[in-house]
Symmetry: C2
C-alpha cells in the first residue's frame, strides 16, 4: 500500500466527513429549531454545500489518486485500507455520474419540498404537494438513468440505502411475508382472546415528567448523553455528526406515555449503533453503518425484539408505575404487556404494531417502485394508497394526512428507502435468534436491568465493524445463513400465537 497516497485519501475523506456532519446539523436544525422564514435561505445554503461536497467527492480522484489506490488495494484485498478504498470508489463512481446541476436542483428541491409537504400534511391536501412530488419523481428517475441499472431503475435508488441489494432479491422475501401476514392478521382479528383496549393505558402525562423518564431509560440502557442528546420533532429521527455527537428525537403525547417511549427506544437503537462505531476511523467507511437495513435492524431490535418483550418491561414497568401511578398502578404487568403488543390495523405506519407494520412498508414499496418504473402516476397515489390499505390491512383511509401524506420520505427524495424498514425487521429477528443462543442468560439479565451484555454483543458483532462487511456478508458472518423471512415469521407466530391463544 502506498502509505502516502492513502494518508492523502484519509485527509480528504475527513474533510468530506466535515461536510456531511455540517449538512446533518443544518438538517437537524431545520427540522427542530429553524424559524419558518429561515426555510428559503436554508434551502439555498444546503443546496450550495451539497454541491461543494459533491465536487469534493469527485476531486478525490484528482491526479488519479483513487484509481491508483484501487489497483494497490487489489494486492491486499482484505486489509482495512482496501475495504476503505473499495467503498470510496463505489461512492465516487456513482457520484461521478451525477451532473453538478442535477445535484444542485435535487438538493434545493428536497429542502423546499419538505416544507411544502409539511404544509400539505397539516392541511391534509395532497394537491399542494403533488407538483413537488412529480418533479421529485422525474429527478429520481433521471438519477437512475445517470447511475445505470440492470433490471429496474428502482434498483439504482435502492442501492444508495442498501448497497448491492436489488428488487429481485427483495421480491421473494416480501412476497413470503405478505402471504403470511394477510391471513395471519385475519386470524388474530378473529381470535377470541383479544388484549384489552389501549384506553386502559391512557392518562395525563406531563411533558417534563415524560422527558425525564425517557432520558432515564436511555441512560440505563446505555445511550451516552456525553456524546448525544434527545430533542422533540414531529417525525422522530436519529442523526450523527460524529460518534461523539449522536442526536435522537422523539415525540410526546400528553395522554399516552407509550407513544414517546416506542419512538425513543427505536431511535436509541440507531443511536447505539452510531455511538458504537469506531471513532478512530472517523471519516472512513470503517466508521460508517453497513446499510440502512442493518441500521434499522438495530432500532427494530431494541424497539421490538427487546422493547416489546416481557424481560425488558419486567425491569422498567415498576419504574413506569412509580413515575405515573395513574393509570399504571392499577394495571397488572400481564395486562400492560398484552396491551403493549395489541395488534390493531390502523393508518399511521410509525404507530403500527409489529404485525401490521410490514404491510405498511410493502404498500409503499409497491407504490414507489411503480412511480420509478413508470407504471403508475403521482396524481393517482391517494386513490391507490386507499385501495391497498383496504386490501392489505382492511382499513378505510379517511384523508391524505392519515394516508399518502403521513411520511416525510418522498419529500426529501428518499425513494428506495422504505424497504429497508422491513429488511431491518427481518435482520433483527435473525440476529435475535443468534444473540439468544450466544447469550444464554440474556432474559435474566434484561429482567435485572443489566443491558451491558446485549449492548456489547451488538457492538462487537455489528457496530465495531463499520462497513467492513456488506449487509449480505454480515448476516452470514453472524448467523451463519443468508437473510430470510422465516425467522421473523417464526417470531410473530410464537409471540402472537401465545398472546392471542391461537
Amino acid at each position: 500500500m502506498d502509505t502516502l497516497a492513502y494518508a492523502k485519501l484519509r485527509t480528504q475523506l475527513e474533510e468530506l466527513a466535515h461536510f456531511s456532519s455540517t449538512l446533518a446539523l443544518l438538517q437537524w436544525d431545520q427540522e427542530i429549531y429553524m424559524p419558518a422564514k429561515g426555510g428559503e435561505p436554508r434551502a439555498k445554503l444546503i443546496s450550495y454545500l451539497s454541491v461543494v461536497a459533491h465536487e469534493k467527492l469527485l476531486a478525490l480522484n484528482s491526479g488519479k489518486l483513487l484509481t491508483k489506490l484501487v489497483q494497490e488495494a487489489k494486492k491486499t484485498p482484505n486489509t482495512p485500507e482496501a475495504i476503505v478504498i473499495r467503498d470510496v470508489w463505489r461512492s465516487y463512481t456513482r457520484e461521478r455520474k451525477l451532473p453538478t446541476a442535477f445535484v444542485q436542483e435535487l438538493a434545493e428541491l428536497t429542502s423546499r419540498a419538505q416544507t411544502i409537504w409539511a404544509e400539505a400534511r397539516a392541511k391534509s391536501d395532497f394537491s399542494l404537494f403533488l407538483p413537488s412530488l412529480k418533479r421529485l419523481v422525474e429527478l429520481k428517475r433521471q438519477e437512475a438513468t445517470y447511475v445505470g441499472y440492470k433490471n429496474s431503475p428502482y434498483d439504482a435508488l435502492l442501492d444508495t440505502y442498501e448497497p448491492g441489494l436489488t428488487s429481485a432479491q427483495i421480491d421473494p422475501l416480501f412476497s413470503e411475508l405478505r402471504d403470511f401476514l394477510k391471513p395471519f392478521l385475519r386470524k388474530l382479528k378473529a381470535a377470541k382472546q383479544q388484549p384489552p383496549a389501549a384506553t386502559r393505558l391512557k392518562g395525563k402525562f406531563p411533558l417534563r415528567e415524560q422527558e425525564a423518564f425517557n432520558e432515564q431509560l436511555l441512560r440505563k440502557v446505555g445511550f451516552d448523553f456525553e456524546a448525544g442528546r434527545i430533542d422533540q420533532s414531529t417525525h422522530p429521527f436519529t442523526t450523527n455528526f460524529h460518534p461523539y455527537d449522536v442526536r435522537i428525537t422523539t415525540r410526546y403525547s400528553e395522554t399516552d406515555a407509550l407513544y414517546a417511549l416506542g419512538s425513543t427506544i427505536h431511535e436509541m437503537g440507531h443511536a447505539l449503533y452510531e455511538q458504537g462505531l469506531p471513532v478512530e476511523h472517523f471519516g472512513t467507511p470503517l466508521a460508517e453503518a453497513v446499510s440502512l437495513g442493518i441500521h434499522e435492524s438495530q432500532s427494530r431490535f431494541w424497539e421490538n425484539m427487546i422493547g416489546k418483550g416481557r424481560p425488558f418491561w419486567k425491569y422498567f414497568y415498576p419504574k413506569l408505575q412509580k413515575q405515573f401511578p395513574k393509570p399504571y398502578a392499577r394495571v397488572p404487568f400481564e395486562t400492560f404487556y398484552r396491551i403493549l403488543n395489541r395488534v390493531e390495523p390502523a393508518f399511521i405506519r410509525t404507530e403500527a404494531d409489529e404485525v401490521t407494520y410490514n404491510l405498511h412498508i410493502i404498500i409503499r414499496y409497491e407504490l414507489e417502485r411503480g412511480l420509478i418504473e413508470g407504471t403508475l402516476k403521482a396524481k393517482d397515489l391517494p386513490q391507490l394508497w386507499k385501495a391497498k390499505m383496504k386490501d392489505y390491512l382492511g382499513v378505510t383511509v379517511k384523508n391524505d394526512r392519515e394516508g399518502v401524506l403521513q411520511d416525510v420520505h418522498w419529500s426529501i427524495g428518499a425513494i428506495g428507502y422504505f424497504p429497508t424498514y422491513t429488511l431491518g425487521n427481518l435482520y433483527a429477528a435473525q440476529f435475535s435468534e443468534t444473540a439468544k443462543k450466544q447469550l444464554p442468560k440474556l432474559e435474566a439479565q434484561l429482567e435485572k436491568g443489566n443491558f451491558t451484555p446485549l449492548r456489547e454483543w451488538l457492538r462487537t458483532h455489528i457496530h465495531a465493524h463499520g462497513k467492513t462487511f456488506t449487509s449480505e456478508a454480515l448476516v452470514k458472518e453472524i448467523t451463519g445463513e443468508p437473510l430470510q423471512a422465516s425467522y421473523f415469521i417464526k417470531h410473530l407466530k410464537e409471540k402472537y400465537g401465545e398472546l392471542y391463544e391461537l
Copy 2:
C-alpha cells in the same frame, strides 16, 4: 460598472455568506445544544470550514476580479456597488495577510479554548485557562503583525470590530468617561436618597412562565418569531444566519425575573438590527451591520435608553404584575423603577447597572491593550483585575470566576471587542437625543405599547443602510455631530440626579 464581473462577485459573496451562516450555526449549536464529547470533533470541523472560508475569500481576487472592480468603483464611488466593492476589498486585503496555517491554528485554538475556559470558570481556576490564553495572546499579537498598524498593535485587532477606529480615538472618550464616572459613582453611593434593596423584587418565578413573558415582550416590541427564535445559554448572545433567521439567547434566574428580562431586551436590540437589514442584499456588506459598536448601540438603546425608562415600564409593568403578582403586586411602580435603576458596584459586567457598566469595560480595555502591546503578562491578569476593580468600582473580587474568568471573549480570541460595548453606550445616548427630537410623541407612544414608530425610526436611519456608511459617517449623518461622550454623561447626570436627588 462591469456588470458581468460584479454579478460574479455577487455570487461568490453569497457563497461566502453561506459559509458564515454555517459557521454561525455550528457555534450557536456548540454553545446551546452540543453534548460534551462533541467539543473535539466540533473544533476540528469549525477549524476546517474556517480555512475553507478563508481560502474562498482569498479566491475572490482570482483573475484579478477584485482589483479590476476596485478600479471601476473609483468612477462611480457613491453607488451601492462601489460601497460593496470597497468593503470587500478591505476584508480581502486584511485576510490576504493571514497565512492559512495561522487561520487554522487560531480557529482550532479558539474553539477548544472556549471549552477549557468554561471548565476553568466552573472551577474558578484561572491557571487552567492560562496556557490557552497565553497562546491566544501570542497569536493575536502575530495577527496584528501580519495585518500591520500605525501606532499600536491593538489597533489592528480593534479594526475587525470597529472598522477605522483607533485606540488614539478611543482614549479621550474613555478618559472623559472614567474621569466623570469615578467621582459620580462616589456621589451616588454617598447620596441620602438610596433606592430600596433589590430583594423586594425577588420571588419564585417558574421557568416556563418567564419564558412565556419574555416571548410576549419580544413579540410586542416587534421581534419577528417567524424569522428568529430565543433559547437559553450561559452567556446570552445573538447570532444570525440570514435576516430571516436571527437567534437570541437569554438566561433565567428562578428568583429574579428581571435577570432574564434585561438580557432579553438587550439581545432583542441586536436582533431587530439583524432582522432589519435589507434582505435583497444578503451576502454583501449592504446587508451587514456597520460595526460592533453600532450593533451594540442598538442593544443598549433598547436595554437602557428604553428598557430602563419609565415609559416602557408604564406599559409592561402592569403585565408583569399580572403574570407574577408575587412579588410585584405589592410593589408600586415608582419603587419598581427605582430598584430597576439601582446603582450597585459589583463583580459581574453583564449584571452591571448603566453607571458602573462602563468602568467594567474600561478595565478590560486597559488590560487587553496591555496584553497586546506587551506591557503586561497573562499570568498577572487576576491580580491586576482585582486591583483595578478595587480602584474603579470599590469592590473586592473574591475569586477568578467572579473576576477575570467571567467573560467568554478572550477564550474565543475576541480581543479588541470589549471597547465596542462602551462605544455602543455612547452611540445609543447620542442617537436617543436625536430620536426624541424627531419623534416628539415617543414617550406617549411607548407608554401605550406602540413601539412601531421607534422601531421604524431605527430601521430607517440605521438598519436599512447596512454598511453604506462607516460608523463615523453614520453618527454624523443621523445626529449632525461626531461621536462624543457628553450625551451619555448628560443622560446619566439627568436620570440619576433625579433618582438619587443629588
